[in-house]
Assembly symmetry: C2
Homo-oligomer: 170 residues x 2
């Protein structure tokens, strides 16, 4: 039993014959889609002389208010020097607030200020509008498949981060 995709069903199991061409399409789809994914917020950021790194910081601080610098570091997967440069400008510009920890005073807990929330919303709205359009066009089954494949593509450590974030908001 072979379907139009070139897959075969043997008993209960569907064996995937993944040709190089099919995988290549997936690779190129990721490349082109990621560009679209970042295009809208990038345009906004450019007018503010911020970059993608600022957007990422805002996004994850918004999603986990009070997160520590170390925690943010491991989510973003960059060095503290790299994050610090971004974080410093966000704090200077009054978009992020850094509060000394109460139990552990070495830690800094990060929060968005009112302005930070506003910018994050502007960036997120732009990005979500495109996601929403894509989701609507593709339909709910495609969306489920989309998330399944993306999750399978992550490094195990990143998958843990991803799931932890979801649960934290669950």
């Amino acid at each position: 039993m072979a379907d139009t995709q070139g897959n075969q069903t043997v008993g209960q199991e569907t064996l995937l014959y993944l040709t190089d061409e099919q995988l290549r399409q997936g690779i190129e789809a990721m490349f082109f889609a990621y560009r679209g994914f970042t295009a809208d917020p990038d345009r906004i950021l450019a007018t503010l002389s911020y970059g993608r790194a600022h957007h990422r910081a805002l996004h994850f601080i918004h999603g986990a208010p009070g997160t520590t610098v170390n925690n943010l570091l491991s989510i973003l997967g960059v060095t503290k020097q790299s994050l610090n440069r971004v974080l410093r400008t966000l704090i200077e510009d009054g978009l992020v607030e850094s509060r000394v920890g109460r139990q552990d005073k070495r830690e800094r807990h990060l929060f968005l200020t009112e302005d930070g929330v506003a910018l994050d919303a502007r960036l997120s709205d732009a990005q979500r509008a495109r996601m929403r359009a894509a989701y609507k066009q593709a339909g709910p089954e495609a969306v489920a498949g989309f998330k399944t494949v993306l999750e399978a593509m992550m490094d195990p450590e990143m998958r843990r981060q991803y799931q932890r974030l979801r649960e934290g908001r669950g």
Copy 2:
């Protein structure tokens, strides 16, 4: 009729109630998955003092041998100065060959040399291995959905590029 995803079916149509949380998950999935997507070739590139830009050039020259610089430019979406820097090192290192056009001698047609093919294969193998694993784990329906959503997420111009490349290899 509401399903577990919070969607409703009214007549033939499924209305998607896309909550911010659902969209947010998609955004984070893209972020973490893209990191995984590039991680394996990045490790190889680092040992060769090449970067992602070199990989992309090799990938698309491999996929469309004889492509012109201008064509490559529009696929990659960078400036000619930026591409030129990368292309120059690849040519110097004997991975890419640039041939003056026969009809239009202003154009340069780009080809991978034997060494270029070898490096592209090494990088592609690493990237495809992860894709293949993800595809196998997720199953064929998920893969179809994955591609549908990614395609819907692209800028129209990039979607045209993507489809043109597929057709070219058809």
